[in-house]
């Protein structure tokens, strides 16, 4: 994926991801989706860069990329200017000529051209070796950081982050490796350029003479062969340009110390400088330049090929629709208001024994026929001391209860006290209608109201004990019916 991100961008990306670690996911999601919606017109491949740009704009503080850029600018200046000065100094030192001793071409080649060419060759060889072995060249980062930043604690947060990242993760170190290589080759290019320009400048503004000497009996022919070999790369250029000294010129510039230079022709002595210039350009500057370009290209390739594992997450957040739900609170509960409204209705009576009535059992219609009469009699006997004189089926709503009261109006109660036992299915929550009905039932003087709570039917048993929560809910609800006198019991199996 072509995303156009550079080392500095990745550092910023890591920086922002680190900052996100302390944010709530919802906050991150919200922000990234907003960025995603704003980036609708941006091609997908540039989403990550867009996200990064957006974060940079929103971030007021310093960024690691800026720290890195500052350091790189300084280093480039140091390497560039240093290289130029080094190149010029080197050449100037070799071009000392006071009219007595011409500049020795061999020494010049040996000190100014061959070392640079050799270093370039070495760098190219290492690159080729790395490519062949497919392994990574590691730069001693910890050593370098320790060397330059002896006290990491004194670094800015951004610089400290960059340092930690380079030390802990492989990919930034790998990119930094190429960046360092690029810096070194930049230095090399500047040295070569400084050398060449130093030579050209010296030739232009000073009087120089070049010659060669040798103790060996190689002769001018041997020297000419060497020069021809060296000048092969530009041999295709017109000879009239004088970029390669001729055999005659080589013979004419041979220095024999005992003879002195007076006998040598000036034209031959100055014929060397174009050749030396070309040597510097071809063997020092050009390889370095090619290495610089290759390092640059490799860096870009590594940056381009690198897909940060978290980019996918970011793109996901930018593209996924943001789901939201309101976070409204709710008002606290309040006791249900009670009030009785007269409504007429009727329910059937299940059991109507003759004689004095000790108590009346009010049974939910759904339980009629599901609980044996003997159990019901036992139940009323247990809770109020009398067996049920009458069992009436009625729901707990005001209409039904009114009907129950009407039906029981003419009963002859034992001791003159009305006793109503109400079987309540406590697993049903006490709704207002139920409480209204109980209020109706219990509000008369001389009437005793007994509630028996039963739990959920289980395994065919419909008279089960209620659980604690159900019992508590009903007890609380009934307590709000005060000043009714209500006795509460729980059914047990």
């Amino acid at each position: 994926m072509k995303h156009g991100m550079r080392l500095g961008d990745y550092l910023d990306l890591e920086w922002f991801l680190e900052k996100d670690r302390i944010l709530a996911p919802g906050e991150i999601l919200d922000r990234d989706r907003k960025i995603g919606l704003a980036a609708k017109a941006v091609p997908l491949k540039l989403y990550a860069a867009y996200w990064l740009e957006h974060r940079r704009r929103a971030d007021a503080g310093g960024l690691p990329s800026r720290s890195l850029r500052s350091v790189l600018v300084v280093l480039r200046l140091v390497f560039g200017v240093g290289g130029l000065l080094a190149g010029i100094s080197l050449v100037r030192a070799l071009l000392l000529y006071s009219g007595v001793q011409p500049v020795n071409v061999s020494v010049f080649l040996l000190l100014a051209v061959f070392p640079q060419a050799g270093l370039s060759l070495l760098a190219a060889g290492l690159l080729a070796l790395r490519k062949l072995r497919r392994n990574e060249s590691r730069i001693p980062l910890r050593f370098m950081f320790d060397l330059f930043w002896r006290r990491p604690a004194r670094l800015s947060p951004q610089a400290g982050f960059v340092r930690a990242l380079f030390l802990q993760r492989g990919w930034p170190a790998r990119m930094l490796g190429w960046e360092s290589l690029r810096l070194m080759h930049l230095g090399g290019v500047c040295v070569a350029f400084g050398s060449a320009s130093g030579l050209a400048l010296s030739v232009a503004v000073t009087d120089l003479a070049f010659g060669w000497q040798s103790t060996l009996q190689v002769g001018a022919q041997g020297m000419h062969s060497l020069v021809s070999t060296l000048s092969a790369p530009w041999s295709w250029l017109p000879a009239a340009w004088g970029l390669t000294p001729t055999l005659v010129q080589i013979e004419g510039s041979r220095i024999i110390l005992k003879d002195g230079i007076e006998a040598l022709a000036s034209a031959d002595l100055v014929a060397w400088w174009p050749f030396l210039c070309m040597c510097l350009l071809v063997y020092a500057l050009l390889p370095r330049f090619l290495l610089l370009v290759s390092a640059h290209w490799m860096l870009r390739r590594v940056e381009q090929r690198f897909v940060h594992p978290d980019l996918g997450r970011i793109l996901d957040r930018m593209q996924a629709p943001l789901l939201g739900s309101a976070r409204a609170g709710e008002t606290p509960s309040a006791p249900l208001p009670l009030g009785v409204k007269p409504v007429a209705g009727a329910e059937q009576s299940v059991l109507q024994p003759q004689g004095n009535v000790g108590c009346v059992l009010v049974l939910p219609p759904e339980l009629v026929g599901r609980i044996g009469d003997d159990l019901l009699f036992d139940l009323t006997q247990r809770v109020c001391g009398y067996p049920a004189g009458r069992i009436i089926s009625a729901t707990l709503d005001p209409d039904d209860i009114r009907q129950v009261l009407d039906d029981c109006a003419g009963l002859d109660w034992v001791g003159g006290f009305e006793r109503f036992v109400v079987l309540v299915e406590a697993w049903q929550p006490p709704i207002r209608e139920n409480l209204q009905a109980l209020t109706l039932l219990g509000q008369a003087d001389g009437r005793r109201l007994i509630l028996v709570f039963c739990g959920r039917p289980f395994g065919g048993n419909w008279l089960t004990a209620p659980d604690d929560a159900e019992r508590e809910v009903w007890t609380d609800a009934v307590a709000r019916l005060a000043p009714l006198r209500v006795d509460i019991f729980g059914a047990s199996t």
């Binding site: 996911p25 990574e136 976070r327 929550p429």
Partner: protein, 468 residues
Amino acid sequence: MKSMPIFAVIGHPNEGKSSVVATLVENDQIRISPRPGETVESMTYPVSIDGQDVIAFVDTPGFQNPVQTLGWMRKFRGPENEVFAAFLEEFRDDPGMAHECELLTPVRDGAGIIYVLDASRPLRQVDKAEMEILRLTGRPRMAILNCKTGEEQFLEEWKIELRKHFNMVRTFNALRATFAERMRLLESLRALEQDWEDALGLVVDAFVRDWQRRNAECAALVCDFLRRVLGMVETAQLADPERRAEVEARLVTRLEERIRREEELLHERVCLQFRHDSRSFVLPQQSVLRQDLFSRTTWTVFGLSKGKLVAAAVAAGGAAGAALDLATLGSSLGLFAAVGGATAGLAALLQGERLVRGTVLGLGIGRRSVQVGPLDTVQWIFVLLDRFLLHYWYVIHWSHAWRGEDFVPATIDEGGKQGFSSTWSREARGLCAEFFKVGAAGDDSRAMTLEMDLRRFLEEELERMSRL
């Protein structure tokens, strides 16, 4: 213009209406109480996509006077379509009918109805009255059977009655509903009203996409966690070589504490991904996740059995060796792979439960230091992953309506191991083992490739778990 679908969630008190809403909109903030009658006014919970409300659920109070309400409606002599408006007008100022007014107002305003009931209890007269009231509304309506106690004795009775009154009947336990069940419920809501089909389709798609994103985030979080943990080391100066054991013990404690903190952070962030308030999410009492990461129980329950562990280590060692074989252009005839696999397998067999190894750094001249870490045993990656996955399992099954009790997720018991990793394929286990190997060795470039693979695998695994 099509209106936004609004669903009023209606029912008897304490049947789980708020729970259903909380689960559907993934909102931990909705007040849910085991006591009936806690919801006293209707609250609207919209679901928005990119800030735009697309659907809303209204949590309503329970019926308090269904029989009286129905009685009033039956006596109403005006135009049939004005019965609800007339009812609301009549009882607007009656505090006794406040709940009915609250719950019927959104219906009058055009909301669809989701009738929630607890089908683990018998059907009663009041329920029939409620159903009849809702039938009279003529609005699109669905009944949700929420079996709160799991009792299904009355389910058929309920279904028969509900089919008379509702367009659709579905079983949905708000406290146990998985993501897939939630989506199925939303899908079925689409069929209720044609005009709402598009909007609900949009919501379902958005939920599915969002769930995938959450899983991808979780996979990335756990990989990030593993990378951090696997590379963790603790070092200290060793002034006196006699005190090496003491220094090492101190460093081990410190390292353990750091790993625990990282794991807590991971779990917290997973909770937040699924919109659970980390304060409301509680691990079940009996959960093995309550055991310390470095306890014997954790080691016993999670990770791989000895055989699988050795196989995974062999695969990882073999993969590393195979890379060397490749480097020799095959001239080693796979020797490195064989030796690497065998060595790694043997190491896994012999390492036992050792957490880390203490190493003395330095040449014995001048300053020496002791280093503890990184994690030394391949089993740890499986233990850490199993703990993460079990936590994830709890989180995705922790309903937004759940407020306290425990539940036990389905665990995979295989040779005493209950972790998910023991059910993985050989390749997946090998991938984890190799990730551990390169992560602990600090081989970042290889770890990066493996991390991507592991992420993809975990994403698939989380998706699979979501569908269970």
